[in-house]
Symmetry: C2
Subunit: 231 residues, 2 copies
DNA sequence: TTCTATTGTCGCAATTTGCGACAATAATAA
DNA sequence: TTATTATTGTCGCAAATTGCGACAATAGAA
């Protein structure tokens, strides 16, 4: 059995983009009806950031994910041992052996941006599902996880222009109109089409490739990728 | 004796502005030559943010400080029990009784902006000084505290335009040329004088008061305060 | 061949920003 | 009293950025 740092947890808001909607991964615990963000604990000999990447790998199957820490939640009000007790009991875990999980936790929150199509959502031993939910159609989340999602969205919006981070939600090659939909889903507002195109291209960090033929009756958009990327 | 959450600490980068320089408070531990950021631990029944405010009150004497959390440092490399042991021994503390301080800590870092002239820097029981240092003339800081300061500066610079946060480093009434010096100290670059004045005033959140006569042979600048403020 | 929906560009107006010009001081020197 | 000096508040204008409509260029369907 692993040995974790007590009182410290992490939670991940894992963003994906599909069907023109921004979505995140939500876990559902066995026999409890409780929904929560994917999270975990930090091994005694593990960097905090590495623990989060380990968790992401377990939930999504992906390495090398775009990841950003955005806030640490430390209010006493988030201490609800009865909830953790419910989860443990519903999973047949002994309370004595897992007493450390009943103590107060401070949670370091991260958001991750991933390519929806590459993910294989995988539940952990305590949960029976790990599923995508549109951010505007979330189930009731336990503890303060709703607030964590809100803050992740806010921070992501503020950081959106940093070197095109939004593109991490798309495949390696993507079109500018699609990227615009990502921006609009995150910011919750429509953006001017021509100004958006001009702005993105003016950054000079995208490389134009062949066109993407959608099979629809209209002009096809060009595909782009990051200049640096090989191939 | 207080009962703290194990494995969790906080560090504060407390900014002040004096003599046209940006400064921060640094503690020096008794008999060790070790310099560090002011920090502390979180009481079992205390909100993380409240713990930090309690620490700020103890070090500066001030309440109601502008405070922002900016990053949580959780690398294993910051675990150097021999340093904490040195500090405890130099202060005649028993290692048995304080063994929890020798374990690994994850540290939540905050920066605070205060009015330099209102502060009474006060050391704690482990340190013999709590002193202002210009950010470009810091002594060698222990552990990763140098990195914490760097990141605080970076984040502060990025947040500088949010509702004139920089003004928290000045008295209630201040002149625009002085505010510009604050900006320049934080950003580490000269700003255009007339553009700065126009930008700040265009925010429409400052109220103009009487002039400030410096005794120097030139036109006196106007004093400003936040519109909302009473008086 | 015509029609429809969407994309890539251009042009122009509106807004913001960089920067010099210049008048208005506040104290000192003549 | 009258210059002189250093600094501040504004204005004007050019350059850069942004919002938005116009329009040609498609890709496929009718």
């Amino acid at each position: 059995m692993r040995n974790f740092l007590s009182h410290i947890a992490f939670d991940s808001v894992i963003f994906g983009f599909s069907g023109e909607k921004l979505k995140i991964l939500i876990m559902k615990y066995h026999n409890t009806g409780l929904y929560a963000l994917p999270g975990g604990f930090v091994d005694l000999n593990e960097n905090l950031n590495d623990a989060v990447r380990r968790g992401l790998k377990e939930r999504t199957g992906l390495d090398n994910i775009y990841l950003e820490q955005f806030y640490t939640f430390g209010d006493v009000a988030r201490y609800k041992p009865e909830i953790m007790q419910t989860i443990l009991e519903a999973n047949g875990k002994s309370l004595e052996e897992n007493h450390w999980m009943l103590e107060r936790f401070i949670s370091v929150a991260y958001y991750a941006l991933i390519n929806y199509d590459k993910v294989v959502p995988t539940p952990d031993t305590l949960s029976d599902s790990c599923t995508w939910y549109a951010v505007d159609e979330l189930p009731n989340l336990m503890l303060d996880h709703r607030e964590i999602v809100q803050r992740a969205l806010k921070t992501l919006g503020e950081n959106l222009d940093k070197k095109l981070v939004g593109a991490n939600l798309l495949p390696t090659r993507f079109t500018i109109p699609t990227l615009q939909k990502v921006y609009e889903a995150i910011l919750g507002e429509k953006l001017n089409r021509t100004a958006f195109q001009r702005k993105i291209l003016s950054l000079g960090i995208l490389k134009r490739h062949e066109k993407e033929y959608s099979g629809k009756a209209h002009k096809a958009p060009y595909l782009y990728s990051f200049e640096s990327e090989a191939k």
